[in-house]
């Protein structure tokens, strides 16, 4: 053998060469120090890989994300099959398949968060899980795959949490974010220090200041403000649904405050601000402010119950009952104790039009 058998050393090292090949290589190695050294390197490389551990078993979140992607893919196939005459079904089957795959792939690609606009950066960058970016004096735009996009204001620190494409999670430490999302509910979540904003299909703005105190303003759709993981909350319910035209404070120690309509009467807005300035401390709600509340402000009154001291709740509850009657006697009593089923039942009553 005159040529160096460098390309065959991997098989030789594994004992997978044929008998003839093995004999030829062994003869070559007897007189070629270079190839003996190369063989040693190949063996070292093979052995080194034994140090690599296989990852932990895949988790349920991965399975749920796959199920969601497959459900979307199946839905696309069914929609297409309903409108296509049988006679041409075969002809477009490839197209349906590709569309279904594309839809499913879009769902997976929703996991890629790209920082698209930055005055100092000439090319897009991917925001990886665990990474944070700060906007400084400028502004950023985050492309959330096919979910939508978010505009990030100056002085913002925001990062990506977790690696699953669904739900896509960002963490807003401070600053502002304006999101426009077109995805199924709960596909996009923004964590803040004291509350998680769970997208329910909407456009909204989120501002977080010092100490994690902030405000959520919903322009379209609805956002659920849920208690941040690990955050204590005095009231029992976990989620405050904030619909369009409402804003809601995010409060340390309490999570969500009381949602307030954009056009709420000033006296009611003032009452909410006083209550939120010292959560669970306000001893009474002045009658004038309660009287100013309209049926459209019922949601505010319901959630204000969780922001004031217990002694202030009966008057607020009674005014709420005048505007939108309690769905049941148990709800009427239960809300005074912030009983979650009572709160949820009355919330549904309000949002269904009372």
């Amino acid at each position: 053998m005159s040529e160096h058998p460098l390309d065959r050393l991997d098989a030789f090292a594994r004992g997978e060469s044929s008998a003839d090949e093995r004999a030829r290589i062994e003869e070559h190695l007897r007189s070629c120090e270079g190839c003996r050294e190369e063989l040693e390197l190949v063996r070292e490389g093979q052995e080194a890989l034994l140090a690599l551990k296989a990852p932990q078993a895949v988790d349920e979140e991965g399975w749920r994300a796959l199920e969601a992607a497959l459900a979307q893919s199946d839905a696309v196939r069914k929609r297409r099959s309903r409108v296509v005459p049988i006679a041409v079904a075969a002809a477009i089957l490839a197209g349906v398949t590709m569309l279904a795959v594309f839809s499913a792939m879009s769902l997976v690609r929703k996991g890629r968060v790209v920082i698209e606009a930055d005055g100092e950066r000439s090319a897009p960058a991917v925001l990886e899980p665990g990474e944070f970016v700060e906007s400084g004096d400028g502004a950023l735009r985050l492309k959330l795959g096919a979910l939508g996009q978010a505009e990030i204001g100056p002085g913002t620190r925001i990062g990506r949490v977790g690696s699953a494409p669904v739900p896509l999670k960002l963490r807003l430490e401070r600053g502002s974010l304006r999101a426009v999302v077109s995805a199924p509910p709960r596909f996009f979540i923004v964590q803040t220090p004291h509350a998680d904003a769970v997208d329910l299909g909407c456009a909204y703005e989120l501002e977080i200041g010092e100490g994690g105190r902030g405000v959520l303003r919903v322009d379209a759709g609805k956002v659920a403000l849920e208690r941040a993981e690990g955050a204590e909350r005095a009231s029992a319910w976990r989620s405050v649904d904030v619909p369009a035209m409402f804003s809601c404070s995010i409060l340390p120690g309490l999570g969500a405050g009381a949602p307030l309509r954009k056009d709420a009467p000033e006296s009611l807005a003032s009452l909410v601000r006083r209550a939120e300035a010292a959560p669970l401390s306000l001893q009474s709600a002045d009658p004038a402010s309660l009287l100013a509340a309209r049926k459209a402000d019922a949601l505010t009154l319901l959630h204000l119950l969780g922001v004031v001291a217990p002694v202030a709740r009966p008057d607020i509850r009674d005014r709420l009952d005048e505007l939108v009657p309690a769905p049941s006697a148990s709800a009427l009593d239960g809300v005074l104790a912030l009983d979650p089923p009572a709160i949820h039942a009355w919330s549904r009553e309000i949002q269904d039009g009372g």
Partner: protein, 196 residues
Amino acid sequence: MQSRVGVGQSESREDEAALVAACRAGDPRARRQLWERLAPRVLAIATHFHGGGASGRAIAADVAQEVLVKVFTRMDQYRGDAALMTWVHRMTVNACLDEARSRRRLVPLEAVAEDAAPGADPEAAAEDASREALVRRAVMKLPEKLRIAVLLRHFEDLSYDEMAEALGCSAGTVASRLSRGHALLARELRALGGAS
């Protein structure tokens, strides 16, 4: 040389065909069973192709998910003339190489106090000193085509013909990539101070 047999390699082609048929029919239990077989294997290759650390695991999770979605949504296209895993391997290889190509077009994001990020790997400091971390770094220095070849060979223990199918090249090219890849890995490891 330790042989690494992946999960499911001992199943017969008949078992595999039955499982695929059930998945095509939309059987949720069959889908779950197939996912449990495929996901760890796809994830192992994707994880170490992307460096295996916290960031690499995150990228690998996306890539693995992409592959698995394709497997299940394109099940109708699997003809059964090759083993299912050959088909899956091919998609895994392509997804890893595509991801690497797309990342080359992006500007790396400057780290902004990453060690303060909530998602930072709490074991990173301990890992840094480990043999595995050194090997991961050396693997990441390999050119992508050599890297995917050595990882596929290591985790899946494929023959040269099976490798050729997965990589879309000849068996001779497989032999060359594996020999060069392992030798280069050892050189990189020596340079990092991690020779065994």
